[in-house]
Each structure stands twice: as structure tokens, then as C-alpha cells.
């Protein structure tokens, strides 16, 4: 690398930098053309032609967060090795391990997932389709609902989700609605006009939009409730501006984009095609860990609510689960766990996964019928109970 720094090799160097940027982009770095230019400029300032300086400089310019900074060296090394293998080889030929892994298993698991995602399960058809009003709806268990009732329910749900997505912040902004007079702003505005009150300024509270991360367990043990939960996710997906949705069983998959860009039915057909199915049990812990590690740095903050939909039957190690939950709890505004089993009267969090996670959950709810769901949605807006400290 030392020789290429000299000016005679300038063209090759810039080509290499561009290639390297392209390589980094494929690893999830968001780099603009400007960054490439900055990198080249930065290198031109370097005093001594040494590789460690070169690497340090590139790291300083091209990385934009902690995750990238920590992994930069590995990528740098990988890129160099790739260059060594074939100087003319194109970057595109580098196999991306992450992407290949799910593809292999896709076909075999496809059918099973389609079963799970089936939106017209036969048992619903047995129900007599009749109009039922909301009062009746509220106490019915979800898997007893007919298709029409479900639709009505979802409409209500959507409405509520939308309402909750917009909360009032403490910050004030100027308002056109003549409700609350802002004394401070009025005086300030009128001082400019010589101290006489000519103009009134009103204020209202700013809206604070919450962010939501949904993590949905799609393992076999959740089959019974899955249909409803998918509807729920969809309702949320359209109500909140910033929402990320993941499904997991043994591995984690981001599906937000699919849900955002497609119609309901189409979206789920697409998900079932793309998401590889689970095998055997669920490894909630490792999936959550994967989430906090790979996505947490960009998605979790104090305005974010994490909603986990799972029954807590974890086949992985409890320590992994604990670490993941703790990390998540610390970084977010609230962690809510929806466990459909919690709806039955003799429920206690027996599953080991559930037990481990319990100290780091703000709300554990069942959401097995509409009433419990309503309570839950109200919870979304409230503040975290600070008196409760998580045990070690």
C-alpha cells in the first residue's frame, strides 16, 4: 500500500479507494460520493507513507458510528485480501455469506411457512358469520373471531394505534389554534414592535412521535395466535412513522420494508417467500442478541418502544437471553412483551426464557382479546416505572 500512495500512482489509488468504498457499502456503510472525495483529500495530507496511517485516516473519514468503527479493521483486511487474490477481480464477485445462508434453506421450509401464514384457517369457517357489535367483540378470545369480526377489530385497532403514535411532548411550538396564549412569545414578538401588544402568539405542545420496534416470534408454538399477531403488526406498521418489524424463530429477519411497500396479502406472500422457516424450537435469546448487536445501534433509543410477541419458550441458553434483554431494556423507552399464554387464568411465567426476561420487561401482557389489547395500548403511552430496578 505504501507505494500506491506516491503521486505517480494517483489514479490507481483513487480507483482503489472507490473500490473500497463500494466494498464498504456492500457491508452496510452509507457512504456518499462526497465521502470518497474526502477520503482522497485526507490521504493527500498524510505525512509519511505508512500503512497504519493510511488505515487510520480511512477509518476516521469513512466510519460514521461505533459499529462501523469497530469492524473497520476486519473489512479493511478482507478487502486487501480480495485485492491480493486478483488485482482485476471485481468487488461484486465477493460472496456475501449472510445473504447466502437463508437462501439455501428456503425451498425446504417454504411450504411449512405458508401453512403458518395461511390467512383462512378452516376452523374460522365453522363460525356463523353474523354481525356482532363492539361490546361483544371486546371480550372474545381472538382465535374465536370470524373473518368479518376480525376486520372490524382491526379497524378499531388501527385507529387506536394511530392515536397513540402521536403523543404530546413538553416542548412548545407556535400554534395557529387560538387556545393557549404564550405570554413569553407574545411579549417577545411585540417588543420588536415597540413594546405595545399588537399581535398575540399562541402555542401548543409539540408532537412527539414514538418509534416502535416489533419482534414477532413465528415458531410453531405460536401458531395459534400468529394470524392475529400478523394483523396487529400490520395495523401498527401503517400507523407509526418509524417502525421496524422483525420476525424470528431460529434466526432474525427484517420485514419492515416488505410491509411498508405492499398490500396486506401481497406483503405476506412475499414474507413467506423470503423468510426461511424455523426448524424445531425457538432460540429467542440468540435472536434478540442478534437484534441488539446488528440493528440495536441504529434502532434503539429512548424514544423507542420494543414490542416482543412470543410465548417465551426458549431453547437457547438463559444467559444469552438475559444479556440481550438487559441491553435492550437499558437502551429503550419501554419493553413490552406480549405473551398469548398470559391470557389464561392459571398462567405464571414458567418457561425459562420468560423467567429470565421478566426483570427487563416493563409490561407483560396477554393481548389475547381486545380488552387486554386496549389496556396494552394505553400502556404504550405511559412512562416507564422508574421505581422498578432490574435485578442482576
Amino acid at each position: 500500500m505504501a507505494q500506491v500512495l506516491s503521486t505517480t500512482f494517483q489514479t490507481e489509488l483513487s480507483a482503489n479507494i472507490v473500490l473500497f468504498c463500494r466494498f464498504l457499502r456492500s457491508k452496510g456503510f452509507s457512504l456518499a460520493a462526497l465521502d470518497e472525495a474526502e477520503a482522497l483529500r485526507a490521504i493527500s495530507f498524510l505525512p509519511v507513507h505508512s500503512e497504519s496511517y493510511f488505515k487510520d485516516a480511512l477509518r476516521a473519514v469513512l466510519t460514521k458510528n461505533k459499529f462501523q468503527q469497530i469492524h473497520f479493521d476486519t473489512y479493511y483486511q478482507a478487502f486487501k485480501e480480495e485485492q491480493k487474490k486478483g488485482p482485476n477481480a471485481k468487488i461484486k464477485s465477493i460472496p456475501d455469506e449472510k445473504e447466502q445462508f437463508p437462501k439455501k434453506r428456503k425451498d425446504a421450509q417454504f411450504e411449512a411457512l405458508k401453512d403458518w401464514l395461511n390467512l383462512n384457517p378452516s376452523k374460522e369457517k365453522k363460525e356463523v358469520a353474523s354481525f356482532s357489535d363492539i361490546e361483544v367483540l371486546t371480550k372474545k378470545n381472538f382465535h374465536d373471531l370470524s373473518e368479518d369480526e376480525m376486520r372490524l377489530m382491526l379497524r378499531m385497532l388501527q385507529k387506536m394505534a394511530r392515536k397513540l403514535a402521536h403523543q404530546k411532548s413538553r416542548l412548545q411550538k407556535v400554534s395557529r389554534r387560538h387556545r393557549h396564549l404564550s405570554l413569553k412569545r407574545t411579549i417577545r414578538a411585540n417588543l420588536r414592535k415597540g413594546g405595545e401588544i399588537q399581535q398575540l402568539v399562541f402555542s401548543e405542545k409539540k408532537e412527539r412521535k414514538l418509534k416502535l420496534v416489533l419482534l414477532c416470534d413465528v415458531s410453531r408454538s405460536m401458531d395459534l395466535y400468529s394470524r392475529f399477531f400478523i394483523h396487529l403488526i400490520y395495523a401498527f406498521q401503517n400507523a407509526y412513522d418509524k417502525i421496524e418489524t422483525f420476525v424470528f424463530s431460529t434466526a432474525l429477519h427484517q420485514v419492515s420494508e416488505l410491509l411498508n411497500t405492499n398490500e396486506f396479502d401481497k406483503a405476506f406472500a412475499l414474507i413467506s417467500e423470503r423468510v426461511p422457516h424455523w426448524s424445531g424450537g425457538t432460540t429467542i435469546g440468540s435472536c434478540l442478541h442478534e437484534f441488539t448487536n446488528d440493528y440495536g445501534h441504529g434502532m434503539l433509543d429512548k424514544k423507542t418502544i420494543v414490542l416482543i410477541l412470543s410465548d417465551g419458550w426458549d431453547t437457547g441458553k438463559p444467559e444469552v437471553m438475559k444479556a440481550a434483554m438487559k441491553g435492550m431494556y437499558k437502551k429503550t423507552k419501554k419493553v413490552i412483551w406480549l405473551n398469548p399464554l398470559a391470557g389464561s387464568p392459571d398462567f405464571s411465567p414458567e418457561a425459562i426464557g420468560m423467567k429470565t426476561a421478566l426483570p427487563y420487561i416493563d409490561v407483560l401482557a396477554s393481548a389475547h382479546n381486545f380488552e387486554s389489547l386496549k389496556q396494552l395500548l394505553q400502556q404504550l403511552g405511559k412512562k416507564r416505572n422508574l421505581g422498578k430496578l432490574p435485578n442482576r
Binding site: 456518499a32 473519514v61 462501523q68
Partner: protein
């Protein structure tokens, strides 16, 4: 200081007692050369704020500091009109027959402008260092509001117009990652992540900051801190705690650590009740490990 070289920056850092591992010096060097703001993130107490202080000392200019907090708005960060002053001035002018436009021009002039840190930094006569501390504590709105300053080095005041920087200040932003910063802000900055230092680095820091310390005690303190950070604590102690502790122990003219001393002075290092209890329980074990570690190190 137009022609700083990397080696000079390293020397400057050294002179100020700031131990760096290459990455920090490189980031500072490039931040100056590319005239870009530097965003520094890392756990509490690893010397993020210190970078700005050292830099201002090294460049021999003023350090202008803006401490961020929730609800911080432009009147506190940028500028504010001095209303009382303006009013008084108007009262004083009442008797005199002065043209309205002229009067207006006077009261909306620099004289009545209260410069807040950001404006102060860009109108500073010579290159200043502007430290925007704990940017993640401020609201997202404030962040977007900073963008104009960060990329164009200018501030727009409706009554006066756009004020361009007379000298581009060296901006350093720090954050604890309590909140994820926006992409727009990141894009405009160079990024630097500072982690807890390695044993060797921490020892070098202690020696530089507390030169009077007994050599063996220094080794023991750093080894102890390294083990302490391995424990899963609520608030992992940073380098500043190490330095405080080293100073405290050095002032007592101690030469080595023992259970009694550690127990008595643990409050210097740990600031959380649960952490204290947790550490006290495993103190003998910790010290044993430390003893081994210090012998090897």
C-alpha cells in the same frame, strides 16, 4: 498554526498529558485539515471532553463550550436579542427626534445581540475550539438546527441576515450514545469512537496525570480497574475515575493496594450503590486477580 503535521499533533497531545493510540491523533489531524467537525463517542469518563480542552490548549485559542440538555433551544445556543437593553435604549431615545429606521437599525445591531456559544465561536476573531458537549442529550430538533453551522459555517438571524464565520472554528461534538444521532449529523462529521483504554495505555495515562505516584501502585490500580470493568456493573468506571483514585491514593503516600484501602476509597471509583455492594462482595477475589495480573503486566 496552519501547517500542523501529524507528528506535531502527537507531540502537542503528549505535552498536554493526553495519551493517544494513533487513532485519536489521526482524527484530530484530519478534522483540522479537512475542516470538518469531529464527533466523539464513547463510554463515560474516557476523555471525550478532554480532547477539546487539550486541543484548545494546543492551538492556544479559546475553548467555547456548549453543554447540551433536553429542551436546549436556539436562544441558548445561538443568539438572543437583549430585550431589556433594547427597551432602555428606546426609552432614552424618546425625547430625541431620531428617525425610526435609524433607531431600528441601532437596536438590531451587534450591540444588542447577545452572542451564545455557537455564534460566539463563528464570529471569534481567531480560530476557536467549539465544544458541543453531550449532543445526544439535546432534542433531535436542535440537532437539525446545528446542521447549518456544521456544514456551511454560517448562522442566519432574521433581523440582520446571514452571518458567515470569520474563522472556521474547530468543532468537537461529544456523545454518550444515550440516543442515536441522526444520519444527517453523522454525515457532516468525522467520527471517533473512544473505548476504555488498554492496560498499558491506562498506565501511561496515570503516569502522565499523576507523576508523583508510586510505580507499583500505578500498575496495581490499572490492573484493578481492568478487572473491575470485567464485572457487569451498572456504571462502569472510566479513566477519569482511575485518575481520581490514583491521585487520592498517591496523596496518601501509599505504595500498594490492600483490602482495607480499597474498601475505604471505593467511593472514588464507583458511584452506584449496587455496584459498591457487588464489588465489596468479590473484593478479595478481585484483588487476587489483580495481584496476578500486576505481576505479569
Amino acid at each position: 498554526m496552519k501547517n500542523e503535521q501529524l507528528s506535531q499533533i502527537k507531540k502537542m497531545l503528549q505535552k498536554q498529558g493526553y495519551i493517544d493510540d494513533g487513532a485519536i491523533a489521526m482524527s484530530l489531524f484530519l478534522a483540522m485539515k479537512l475542516e470538518k467537525p469531529l464527533l466523539v463517542e464513547g463510554p463515560a469518563g474516557v476523555g471525550k471532553t478532554e480532547i477539546a480542552k487539550v486541543m484548545s490548549k494546543a492551538l492556544e485559542t479559546d475553548l467555547i463550550r456548549l453543554q447540551c440538555y433536553e429542551g436546549l433551544d436556539s436562544t441558548h445556543a445561538l443568539y438572543e436579542w437583549n430585550y431589556q437593553h433594547q427597551l432602555l435604549y428606546l426609552k432614552m431615545q424618546e425625547g430625541k427626534s431620531q428617525k425610526i429606521t435609524a433607531l431600528e437599525e441601532t437596536i438590531f445591531s451587534d450591540k444588542f445581540l447577545l452572542k451564545r456559544p455557537v455564534l460566539e465561536a463563528i464570529t471569534h476573531a481567531e480560530k476557536a475550539v467549539l465544544l458541543i458537549d453531550e449532543i445526544d442529550r439535546a432534542d433531535e430538533e436542535f440537532e437539525s438546527f446545528l446542521l447549518e453551522v456544521l456544514s456551511d459555517w454560517q448562522v442566519t438571524i432574521p433581523e440582520i441576515g446571514t452571518i458567515k464565520a470569520t474563522s472556521k472554528p474547530q468543532i468537537i461534538l461529544t456523545g454518550n450514545r444515550t440516543r442515536e444521532l441522526s444520519e444527517a449529523l453523522r454525515r457532516r462529521c468525522l467520527y471517533l469512537w473512544i473505548d476504555y483504554p488498554s492496560f498499558e495505555k491506562e498506565l501511561a495515562i496515570v503516569k502522565a496525570q499523576v507523576p508523583e505516584i508510586d510505580a507499583e501502585l500505578g500498575v496495581q490500580i490499572c490492573a484493578f480497574m481492568r478487572e473491575l470493568r470485567e464485572l457487569k456493573l451498572e456504571k462502569t468506571p472510566g479513566v477519569s475515575e482511575t485518575i481520581d483514585w490514583a491521585r487520592a491514593l498517591a496523596s496518601m503516600h501509599l505504595t500498594h493496594l490492600d483490602t482495607q484501602v480499597v474498601e475505604a476509597t471505593l467511593g472514588v471509583v464507583l458511584k452506584d450503590w449496587q455496584d459498591m455492594r457487588h464489588t465489596q462482595d468479590s473484593l478479595s477475589q478481585l484483588l487476587e486477580k489483580t495481584g496476578v495480573a500486576s505481576r505479569i503486566g
